[in-house]
């Protein structure tokens, strides 16, 4: 996918002088809004940073379309559950933008237990010329007022104001792993390990439980919910994935409690690859509907798969992300890497899919040409406006000069969170505490 890319590494300003990684700065979620103008990131410290794309201008053609910080706010604080003597992490698990309905932008952000609706507004004018107050707001001495004036709105420096409009608390006993806004723009769902709740955006004191897989006896628990999403067009349909590798498509019109799925998508196990780790690596870490609504994309430990909603028996496409790890599963189980949850993403035209891997590598698969590429997000290998060089992991045999061997991979550098601009070839990659935004300048049209 040879491209002339414009790379921009955006550091949080407070990290500029430090070379170590503060745990609070680890990015935990990345999400473009529906136009791609805004990009939100959440981190382990409970903060949300929103970037805005600069409008392209003829006067500065080289800086067109780059993202700058628009707003930063503290979304969640650490809490303590006194009943259970447990901390509730402030880490932002997911951010989802609401479709824009007026001048303001809104987003939902969630940690393990509480979802919040934030409203982001701009203020670029302020009234001046009050009769009773002076510039600083102090009351004027009335004897000095000799004439009346009409206050006028004067431009001011842009101020971005963020305010919490709703707090959806106490809906979940277990840890929230996903939220998804319905296409009806009125409701959204939140999923934890065992339950999925449906909320109305305006109502915070109650929610409807629509999926409950908690067994009567917790000893019988063998499967949990790992991700869920509403269908992009059909407001009654949603999908949720499980730790056993299955997907369940549910129809809310069928019943109030959608424990019975409408469709179950499951691929039969490959007996030749069976091991004690088979189940773990089949656990689906992310599920995303295509923009068309016709397909679903899932990520498990070693692969990404494309499913056709009309075919439940098996995925229509399977792509190997890092098959070379299959022989290392025991070590990866030992150091817990096997439980890493990678996300996946579609491009705007559903022709290319992307997911992260280790060593700050991320992978893209072109569904049409069947070509794939491995790229690296790192300070060393990318300077602004440099072309990203494809990387290769060698597994023995013939080794080319810039290849990396499997045993040299850095498993602490994992790209779990990636996002693709809804319309253009712009991607956002979260590499631990760094955010990379790559643009494809040459091929800006989707194909």
């Amino acid at each position: 996918m040879g491209e002339d890319t414009d790379t921009r590494k955006i550091n949080h300003s407070f990290l500029r002088d430090h070379s170590y990684v503060t745990e609070a700065d680890i990015i935990s979620t990345v999400e473009f809004n529906h136009t791609g103008e805004l990009l939100a990131t959440g981190d382990k410290g409970g903060r949300v940073v929103i970037f805005q794309r600069e409008p392209e201008s003829k006067s500065a053609p080289r800086s067109q379309g780059e993202y700058d910080v628009y707003s930063t706010f503290q979304s969640h604080e650490p809490e303590f559950d006194y009943l259970k003597s447990l901390e509730i992490e402030e880490k932002i698990n997911k951010i989802k933008w609401l479709p824009q309905q007026n001048a303001a932008h809104s987003l939902l952000s969630t940690n393990d237990k509480t979802i919040k609706l934030w409203k982001i507004t701009e203020r670029d004018k302020r009234p001046e010329g009050y009769n009773l107050k002076d510039e600083e707001g102090k009351l004027k001495d009335l004897s000095t007022v000799t004439s009346l004036q009409v206050p006028v709105l004067k431009p001011m420096d842009l101020m971005v104001e963020v305010s919490p409009r709703r707090v959806f608390a106490n809906g979940h006993t277990y840890h929230i792993n996903s939220i998804s806004v319905n296409s009806d723009c009125e409701t959204y769902m939140s999923a934890d390990d065992l339950r999925i709740n449906l909320w109305h955006l305006a109502i915070t004191d109650r929610s409807f439980n629509i999926v409950d897989i908690k067994p009567a006896n917790m000893e019988d628990l063998t499967e949990v919910i790992t991700a869920s999403e509403f269908h992009p067009h059909h407001c009654n349909l949603f999908v949720y994935s499980s730790s056993k590798g299955s997907l369940r498509l549910c129809d809310m019109r069928a019943a109030a409690l959608c424990d019975k799925h409408s469709k179950l998508f499951e691929e039969p196990e490959d007996p030749s690859n069976r091991s004690f780790f088979s189940e773990i690596i089949s656990s689906v870490s992310d599920v995303k509907f295509s923009h068309s609504g016709r397909y679903m994309l899932t990520r498990d430990y070693l692969t990404v798969k494309v499913w056709d909603l009309n075919m439940e028996a098996r995925p229509i496409e399977t792509y190997q992300v890092h098959e070379y790890l299959r022989s290392k599963l025991c070590s990866l189980y030992e150091n817990d890497c096997i439980f890493d949850k990678f996300e996946c993403a579609w491009n705007g035209s559903d022709s290319v899919i992307m997911t992260g891997a280790y060593n700050n590598f991320f992978r893209m698969f072109d569904r049409n040409t069947k070509r794939d590429v491995t790229l690296e997000a790192s300070r060393e290998s990318s300077k602004p406006r440099a072309v990203l060089k494809p990387r290769r992991v060698c597994v023995g045999g013939k080794r080319r000069r810039d290849d990396i061997s499997v045993d040299s991979l850095d498993f602490t550098k994992k790209i779990l969170h990636t996002a693709w601009h809804p319309a253009e070839n712009i991607i956002a990659i979260a590499a631990t505490n760094n955010l990379y935004i790559f643009q494809d300048k040459v091929n800006s049209e989707m194909h």
Binding site: E89, E219, V224, E279, S408
Partner: protein, 235 residues
């Protein structure tokens, strides 16, 4: 299947002078690997890293793995199921079976102590206050509660590690500190986020499991505490 099941580094060399090995070098290697995987999984289930609730998905996946290993061992005849739960005591010096561990953990959630387990296992089934959240790998845990509920045999395991981890057992669960991370490092081969030179050590650091057994026996009797201790202590 054996080739893909474990990392290559875990394959053990043949043990010299061990008559069980001759003629079937692969078999003992496989059951040893399987045993070490079981032990590793049990420790993973019990270790609580922080004050935050453990990840339920991870716990479920590990427990399922343990169950699979147990089932296979049962089929192989390598697993002696404990006597069906009866009042009265089972053999105390047997390694507490996974089943018991899991049952003990689950039954912690504010219920009456399980009558079917040996009463001498302290803590694990001491009657928790009803409704209080005791340690249970599925329900919310407090690290304090977790500590108190450890089955005796695991306590013994950790006590024998004192030479390596000088702090008392509780010290292992301190949220910061040498002993705990030493244990982690021993088990995972990685310390903190960065392993040694190159970042690749994570893969190359071998599980401490698979140390050559005492010369006497190649058979892995699940009741042998020594064996488990050896696995955890191997340098």
């Amino acid at each position: 299947m054996e080739g893909t099941m474990f990392a290559r580094g875990l394959k053990r060399k043949c043990w010299d002078g061990d008559e069980d090995v001759e003629g079937a070098p692969a078999a003992p290697s496989y059951s040893l690997q399987r045993q070490s995987l079981l032990d590793m999984s049990l420790v993973k289930l019990q270790l609580c890293h922080t004050l935050v609730e453990p990840n339920l998905c991870r716990s479920v996946l590990i427990a399922n793995t343990v169950r699979q290993i147990q089932e296979e061992m049962t089929q192989d005849g390598a697993w002696q199921l404990p006597a069906p739960p009866v009042a009265g005591r089972g053999p105390l010096d047997h390694l507490v079976s996974t089943e018991i561990l899991c049952r003990a953990a689950w039954e912690q959630q504010g219920q009456r102590p399980a009558p079917d387990l040996p009463s001498e296992l302290p803590g694990a089934l001491g009657a928790p206050a009803p409704g209080s959240a005791q340690s249970c790998i599925w329900e919310a845990d407090s690290s304090r509660g977790h500590r108190g509920s450890f089955p005796k045999s695991l306590d013994q395991i950790f006590e024998t590690l004192e030479s390596r981890a000088p702090s008392p057992v509780e010290g292992l669960f301190a949220d910061a500190g040498g002993p705990y991370y030493d244990l982690d490092a021993v088990l995972t081969g990685m310390v903190g986020g960065k392993s040694g030179p190159g970042g690749g050590d994570g893969l190359q650091a071998l599980a401490p499991a698979g140390a050559p057994p005492p010369s006497a026996s190649c058979k892995r009797d699940l009741g042998e505490l020594d064996h488990v201790v050896e696995i955890l202590v191997e340098t």
